[in-house]
Structure formats: C-alpha cells, structure tokens
Symmetry: C2
C-alpha cells in the first residue's frame, strides 16, 4: 500500500458503509413486527404498560436483583436516583466518565466534585475518593467503566464511614460481574442504559436497579407526574417513562443477549489476535475471572512507538469509513462548566488526562463481521508501516501552510 | 333505570372496555409497519435520525414557526427551555396547570412562584402575574390550557417591561391559534407534547418551537451529551433525544391531524348537544373565532344544581368503565413540595380551587364513537335523575358506617 491509497490521501475508502462502535443489536424483523403489532392491538402505548412490566421482571431476574425500574434513558435514571435519594451539596464523581454521568448530577441540583482515577482500574480508589470528601459531600457516583466494576469493599466501607450515598453508573455494564456477582446489585442503586449503542437496545431507554424496597418505591414515584397512594412523600417527579415500543426492542434484544455477547467476544478475540504483533497499538484486556459484555474494544495508542498519535489514527480511519470513538475524551475537568468550578480549580487529573489522550474504541457490534475486523486490523498494520511517510507529509504540509 | 342498575350499586358496567379521555390516535397498521421497517433497514434508531428531522420540518411547517426541536417528552422540553434560556431565581407559573409544568421548573433549578388564574380564561392576567414579580423573578411560564391561548399583548408588554423570559407550555395546544396565529410562535419558546394522550401521538415525545435562531441552537445543544462545533457555550446538556420509532408514530398521526381534529370536533359537538338540557353539567365552550384541537371535553359540575359532586360523578362513571379525568386537580398550591414553600405560604388561589373542584374531562379520542358519546350522555342523564336517591343512599350508608 502506498500513501495515496489511503482515503485521507485520495484513495478509495476501505468500506463503502460506515463501520461503527455501536452495538446496534436488532431483533429479527418478524419477531419485532409481532411485538409492535401487539402494542397497536392493545392500544397501550406508554405509562408502565405490559411490555415495560415484563422487561422489568426479566431484567431483574437476569441480574438477580429485587427491583428494576425502567425509565426513558440512562441519564433520567441517574437524575432520578440522585434526587430521590435526597442527595444535596457535593457528590464525588470520576473525571474519566461519560459526560451524562456528571451532567445528571447538575440536573439533580448537586455540585459534582471530580476525582482522578487509578491507571490500572480506570476508576477512583477509596483513597482518591476520600481526598475529595468535604463537609458538603452527600454521595459518591462511580462508573463501571467498560463494564468493569467500580465497586470495592473499600469504597463501600468509606461510604459507610462517612454516611455517603454510594450509587453507580452501570450504563456500560449490562451482564457484567464483580467477583462473580452481577453488577446492578451494589450501592444504594445502579443506573443502566438501553441506548442503541448498548448490548440491550431499546433505541433509547434506561433502568434503575436496587435491592432496597423503599428506594424502589421512591424511584417508581419519581418517574411519573402523578402521586399514587403507595408513593413515599416529598419526591420530585418528572416524565421518566419508558414507552411500550422502547420495551419491545429491549425485550427482544435481551432475549438474544447471550448470542450477542458471544459475537462481541468473537470480534474482541479477533482484534486481540490480529493486533498482537502491531507495535504501539495495545488492546485493552478484560479479566478472565469476571463476565464482561465485550461491548468495547479499547485500544491505547502509544504515539512514540507506532509513530502516529491517537487523533491522527482516528482521522485516518474515519476517512476509510471506520468510525472509532474517543471515549471519554476530554476528561470532565476540561469540559465547561466543570472546568471552571471552584471545586476543580487548581487540581490536576494526570491519570484521566493520560487515558483520554491515548484511548480509542474500535468498531464492534452487529454490523461488524469478523472479516471486517480482519480488514480493519490489516489496514491499521499498513497505516503503521506508512507512519514515517504520513508524519513527513504532515510536517511538510504544515510548513507549506 | 333503578339505583341497582348502576355498576357502582351492583349493575353491569355500561361498557365492557375502558373509555378514556386520551386521544390514542393510531395510524393504520400497514403504514406504521412500513415506517418501522424502514428504521430497522436503515439501522438508525436514535440520535436525530432522518424521521426526527422530517418530523421537525413538518411540524415547523404546520405551525409556521422557524424551528421545531424534537425531544424525549414535553417535560424535557420545558426543562431544556428553562435551563438553556438561563432562567434563575424565581419563575411565575399558574397554580392551575399540569404538575409537569411546575416540576420542570424545579428540575431546572428555579423556584416556582404560583399564580392564580382568571375564572373566564383559566390563565393568569397580566395584573395577576405582575403581583407575583419580585427582585428574583427571571421568567414567566404560562400554559395554553385546553389549547386556549395564554398569550396576550399585555403579558408580552409586562415581560418586556421587567425583562422577563416569557415561555409557554403548549403541551395541550397542537394546532390551536391566538387571533388566527398558530400557538408555538409566541414568547421566547414553547413546549409541545406528543404523548399518546395528545392529538399527535409519538407514544412519548415532545418538541420545542421558537422563531429565534440563537435559542434554537441552544435547545439543540442542550438535548445531547456531546458538544458540536456549532454549539453556543455554557449549555447544560442532558439526554433529551427523541428516537426514530417515536418520530414514526408522530409523523403518521401528524399526517392524519385534520381528520382526527374533525372527529374530536364531532364528538365534542355531540356532547354539547346531548348535555345541553342536563341541569348542573355545563360543557366548556371554545371560541368560534379560534382553531382548537378539541382534545378536551370539559364539563363543570354544579353540585348544588345536579345534586352530585364532581367526585361522586367521577366514581359512578368509573364503575361503568367511563374513565374521566380531573385535570388539573388539586391545584399546584396544594401539592408537595409546592404547598409548603415560602413563596406560597399565606397566599390563596380561590379561582384555581373553584375550578379544580368542578372540572372533569369526558372520554374523547379515537376509541370513543359518537354512539359511545350518546350512551355516556344518556347514562349521565339517568344518574342525575337518580341523584336524590344516590345521595340518600350515601347518607344512610355513612350513618351506618
């Protein structure tokens, strides 16, 4: 391959269709059609209908958790959890997370205090969290990054010692475990996402899980406008309802969870194999002793080894219709309004910064075949071989410009 | 008819299926199936897809407004509007409105200051609003109750004089007019609902309309997590996205808007005709000089004339599977936490209280035929004739109890 064969330099893109990182799991049309037709026949479109109830039962059963409360999306789940648990003042949250984790806190009327993470686990240690506690702290919201547990006994002990609400953003963690126990069972409550990018696809959708009966009643109350006689008092309500059509998509993709997980794992394994010999492109490893859903194929770009930065690689691949993601980049401490809040001023987040600079997700999901993976990895290998030439071109181009 | 023929007294319910107030407009299954199949074929489920774009264009065109920005539901629309317009401190809002109007303000971090309404228009006058203004007031949020305009030149002048953000809850007002101009074009922005109960049915869904290009960019930015280069700075973001499946339902019911409006009008006219001779049950009248969508058939129960209270009638009808609504009851000044806020303490809302005590919505929408209307009105007539007997029974029952 020559430089001019790359799409960024005038060649044909490797793929005629976009290759994404999103799961885009889609049930068979005939099944989906029948389920949607049922909604139409019942003329029951929303307000906690039969499909939403069924999804709540099946999701709770799959996770072995007492309560699953379906809501409009993962962000609503987090917003409702924070408000209904009465969180006020400051809540500690990692700087290395999806923007919605932190935005939900702002919507819930609390001040996010960002926390750097550990370079190995990519989640804050109990010590890092403890350093952020002030007299105003009422809670800790941690993210199960790439489905890897943010829970630890140390974190729970810390929360207990300071009487803090410990909750989790489990939006990436459907079906994942901590020491063999399903995530969704930890802290006071956990928030899941059924966005189309996730392994269970409601198009849009989310869910709160908890083992506490009282909290479950609070969350159920908060997702609807109207008070019912069972509701605990003093709950701020909203429209957080999931529609029946959303539940239809989610139920059918939940049914196919195991096969979609296996397909993810096959693609992940293929990436590992194909990229193992490539210098400077390190595939993120998942623990063999836990279940993961393999939604995310993370690679860490060592620019000093492979000769190209993560962003240079990202752009070269995008030209080939290979649409990678740079989650979570930049860190939340660099995003307004969080960058200029007094809680963050003067503090540094070196591990988050280093992760944000290097990490990239490669295409995965139902629309990516093993053959696609082979082609993507083959192209990456060619690009790395051309790295000195690309770099020289960029430098001369910059000089000319 | 004898007392024991009423379902509440052991008789057979008049209807074997529930008769609701919700519109429940449903497109033909073959059309809906094709549209949903298109989503599956494109594998484009959410994130401002082609159907959402089409809905935004068609809704904006229908209303003659520059921008329509689709969101997850009407509450999100209000929440986004308040935050993106930078509303802080206090916002004045009617006590006679749907709970979500006021709840959205709380989520947006502002303090709602409730305002009583005028008995004729059921919306606050400029004078009533002015009496609520303090140094902390930054906005006024008024509701187009039953699709009747809350806008007036006086209100606009007041907002201008005090430099207040004037916005509208137009969730009940799709296709309705003010002096011949479509609602959706007034104030800084307006919020619509496409809930299944509304004439345009996205199952769940909402929309913000505005004629201001800058505000439109702010609202578009606020409904998504990620910043794009076009976005104004400093916007608090959330997940307010409408999915493609929601847009599919909405587009097809928007297409059938005129015929659904006509059917609503026919049912409304039938109710007016059938109930005209019935003492103490007064049907709410819509202005002939404005367009209304006739979603709501309001009746006002004069207990002293018909011999039964609104709540007694409501329960008697519910037993017959005639599921009326008591919107908006109770007034927001009686609902926690608003009842105990310093802004409301010591103030009275006599017009709201009087409306809340008397008003009731009768069944309407696609699942209610003209024959159903005739049967409902016939039953109402029988019930009123039995009123003395029902009252006597209740009194003896209470004495026995």
């Amino acid at each position: 391959m020559r430089l001019q064969d790359l799409a960024a330099f005038g060649g044909q893109p490797l793929f005629s269709e976009l290759k994404h990182t999103a799961q885009m799991n889609l049930p068979e049309w005939s099944k989906l059609k029948n389920t949607l037709r049922g909604i139409v026949e019942r003329s029951y479109f929303t307000n906690h209908g039969p499909l939403v109830n069924q999804l709540e039962q099946e999701f709770a059963k799959a996770l072995g958790v007492r309560h699953a409360i379906c809501v409009s999306n993962g962000t609503s789940a987090l917003m409702i959890m924070c408000r209904a648990l009465g969180m006020r003042g400051e809540v500690i949250v990692p700087a290395f997370t999806f923007p919605a984790t932190v935005q939900a806190l702002t919507w819930a009327g609390v001040t996010p205090v960002l926390c750097d993470v550990h370079s190995q686990t990519q989640t804050p240690t109990a010590r890092q969290v403890e350093a952020c506690i002030t007299r105003r702290t009422t809670g800790v919201l941690l993210t199960h990054v790439w489905g890897q547990s943010a829970y630890s006994d140390d974190i729970q002990k810390l929360a207990d010692a300071y009487a803090l609400n410990l909750i989790f953003d489990a939006c990436q963690a459907i079906g994942c475990t901590h020491l063999g126990h399903q995530l969704g069972n930890f802290g006071k409550a956990e928030a899941f996402s059924f966005h189309a990018t996730k392994i269970v696809n409601a198009t849009e959708g989310g869910c709160i899980t908890t083992n506490d009966d009282h909290f479950a009643r609070c969350f159920r109350a908060a997702r609807s406008f109207h008070e019912t006689p069972d509701d605990p008092p003093g709950i701020l309500r909203m429209n957080g309802k999931m529609s029946e059509a959303q539940a239809a998509f989610a139920l059918l993709t939940l049914e196919e969870f195991e096969q979609n997980l296996t397909a993810n794992h096959d693609r992940y394994t293929a990436y590992c194999r194909e990229l193992s010999a490539l210098p400077g492109i390190v595939v993120g490893v998942y623990s063999d002793s836990e279940v993961n859903n393999y939604q995310y194929v993370n690679v860490y770009i060592e620019a000093e080894v492979c000769g190209l930065t993560r962003d240079e690689l990202f752009d070269l691949l995008a030209a080939e219709n290979i649409i990678c993601r740079r989650h979570f980049s930049p860190g939340m401490h660099r995003i307004p309004p969080y960058d200029s809040m007094p809680q963050q001023i003067g503090r540094t987040f070196p591990v988050t910064d280093r992760l944000c600079e290097r990490i990239m997700q490669l295409p995965n999901g139902q629309q990516v075949s093993i053959e696609d993976v082979t082609r993507i990895c083959g192209l990456l290998s060619e690009i790395i071989a051309l790295a000195p030439e690309i770099r020289a071109y960029h430098q001369s181009h910059q000089c000319l410009g």
